[in-house]
């Protein structure tokens, strides 16, 4: 059916309205981060006086830099471990026959649906007793456990789509098992693993409740948690500008990251939901 001019205009308007609505809060926090302390009380949407001092302030203080480092380190380590463990389990689910597969998937989904506070409560005491409180492993281990369901679910959906017969075909053509794996299977599995890693990392980066309950100082506190306890550069200034700058710093790289990998993320989020 040919697209009439009226249809085109209709869709364009809908598109533009959607995009604007999505961007409004994002642009607001960015503009806040550029406002001078004096003009914070001026409710204009765009800054009247521009300043970089909010950024220079937070980027030179360890109360922000250390949590940023924590977020990056904890996120990367938890993601790496979770993806490796999930790959093994997903490979088994997709390729091997053994009883208990549905139970595994069902239980892991159950875990994904747990209210975080129900876990945080006992974990708080357990970690205190074990000496894991306020440490990197103290957050990494729960993140791996709660990221695994997402990883297993996504990866098993991806792995099921791989034509495993290609491996046999390669062997028939004379490849060793190792060559078959590296040349044929790995490239097919890689996109799924990358997507899963992205989704799990996003989850860890964004996590808030466990981060504020299982940490007490900047030793292990991640960026979102630190943000909520931020008091700014001086005791008396309302830290709106600093918090906005900090919020932008932890958000913008991730958004660029997400937009760059947009196709993969959409594929990953939708792969298991319906096809399975």
């Amino acid at each position: 059916m040919a697209a009439t001019a009226r249809q085109k205009v209709g869709w364009s308007v809908a598109n533009i309205v959607t995009i604007v609505l999505v961007l409004i809060p994002l642009v607001w926090i960015i503009s806040l981060s550029f406002k001078t302390t004096a003009s914070i009380t001026d409710p204009s949407y765009f800054p009247v006086d521009w300043t970089w001092s909010n950024y220079s302030g937070i980027l030179t203080t360890s109360t922000f830099l250390r949590p940023l480092l924590n977020s990056i380190g904890i996120g990367l380590i938890a993601t790496a471990i979770a993806v490796v463990l999930a790959s093994m389990a997903a490979y088994a689910v997709a390729r091997l026959q053994f009883p208990g597969k549905a139970v595994l998937i069902g239980v892991s989904l159950l875990i994904a649906m747990f209210p975080a506070i129900a876990l945080a409560t006992p974990l708080f005491n357990i970690e205190r007793i074990l000496g894991l409180f306020n440490t990197w492993p103290g957050l990494i281990i729960p993140y791996v456990a709660t990221g695994l369901p997402l990883g297993i679910y996504t990866l098993s959906a991806f792995f099921r789509e791989i034509p495993w017969e290609l491996e046999k075909a390669a062997k028939v053509d004379g490849a060793t098992p190792f060559q078959a794996f590296v040349r044929v299977i790995a490239p097919l599995a890689a996109p799924g693993m990358v997507t899963t890693a992205i989704l799990v990392f996003l989850f860890c980066w964004n996590e808030f409740l466990l981060a504020i309950t299982l940490t007490a100082t900047t030793a292990a506190r991640t960026a979102p948690a630190a943000l909520s306890f931020f008091t700014g550069n001086s005791q008396f200034a309302v830290p709106t500008g600093s918090i906005s700058a900090a919020a932008v710093v932890i958000t913008i790289p991730i958004i660029i990251f997400v937009l760059f990998f947009q196709r993969r993320i959409v594929a990953g989020l939708t792969s298991g939901a319906v096809k399975g």
Binding site: W28, I40, Y91, F98, I111, I117, A118, T146, L259, A273
Partner: protein, 314 residues
């Protein structure tokens, strides 16, 4: 010597009933072992971090255990649960949570469906829309919450200025509306993605046939698209409802739960970390877990949602 055969046949029926073949071959057994071995690390981590703490929480919930006075710990049976269930605070928080959950999921569903249709059928800018949609998903919840907080703060925020500089975050109904707005903004995109996957399963030919038969766009939507999308819709609703019930981040930043805006998770957090009453906090956590389980059962048994994973059988 032919005496070996009878013992083997006596064993066979048992194995045969279980697996439908005479005996598991060596290869099949090795495959099972490998399967369990590969799953073991993941399973161990998940169980260790969830099953054990939940068991521990249930155990603690039956005791009076206040972290600042650990010497007074003693077994009190269900009195923690009694205290919670007879307290106005719990039911109030539950009501607030249910309201926020129902309203935000309903709005997200309608908007998400609209977005899904837009992304699926738009003639122009498909890539642009899909990309922009992911921004709320990619933004850290806490950062977005701060954006809303400052937007509604009188004399700082553009939205507050639009509404006469009142302080809507201090008034219960307005604050709840703002929380719902923040939730909807953040997760509508996710709902739209889930729905879009379901939308792609509706066969084009059916829609064309309906059009030829004279169905209007609305009729095509309600009589062809919606029924065919039902499984996907139910899965999306299940995920979002469970997620919404656990709401914490947005409320913590926007109001800290003040002025009667606290959800059950916020209430639990307050009890635990300001009251340091571990027994009570654990009991509340168990109650929240039970609520989540009820919601899941309601969806799966009541609405017939296909529990995801049951169709992953090979």
């Amino acid at each position: 010597m032919t005496t070996v055969t009878p013992p083997v046949t006596a064993q066979e029926p048992a194995a045969g009933r279980r697996h439908g073949r005479a005996r598991l071959s060596e290869g099949a057994r090795a495959e099972r072992r490998l399967g369990w071995l590969l799953c073991a690390p993941a399973v161990i981590v998940m169980i260790a971090v969830t099953a054990y703490p939940i068991g521990y929480a249930i155990y603690i919930s039956l005791q009076r255990y206040i972290l600042s006075a650990p010497q007074l710990t003693k077994f009190v049976g269900f009195s923690n649960y009694g205290a919670i269930l007879s307290s106005g605070f719990w039911w109030h928080a539950l009501l607030v949570t249910v309201i926020i959950t129902v309203v935000s999921v309903a709005i997200e569903f309608v908007l998400g469906m609209g977005l899904a249709l837009l992304m699926y059928r738009t003639i122009w800018g498909k890539g642009g829309i899909r990309t922009t949609i992911l921004i709320p998903y990619g933004i850290v919840t806490v950062a977005a919450a701060f954006s809303w907080l400052y937007a509604w703060t009188p004399s700082t925020g553009y939205l507050s200025a639009l509404f006469n500089n009142s302080a809507p975050l201090t008034s219960q109904p307005k604050a709840i509306a703002i929380i719902i707005l923040a939730e909807v903004w953040k997760t509508t995109a996710f709902m739209a993605l889930l729905l879009m996957a379901g939308l792609s399963l509706v066969p084009e030919d059916l829609l064309k046939a309906a059009k030829v038969d004279g169905a209007t766009a609305w009729q095509r939507f309600t009589k062809v698209i919606l029924p065919l999308m039902k499984p996907a819709i139910l899965v999306a609703l299940l995920f979002r409802t469970l997620d919404a019930f656990r709401i914490f981040d947005n409320i913590f930043i926007l109001t800290q739960g003040n002025n009667g805006t606290g959800s059950v998770s916020i209430l639990n957090y307050d009890n635990l970390f300001t009251g340091l009453n571990f027994g009570l906090g654990s009991a509340m956590s168990v109650l929240i877990l039970i609520c989540v389980a009820i919601i899941a059962i309601l969806f799966i048994k009541g609405f017939g949602t296909a529990a995801p994973g049951t169709s992953l059988q090979r």
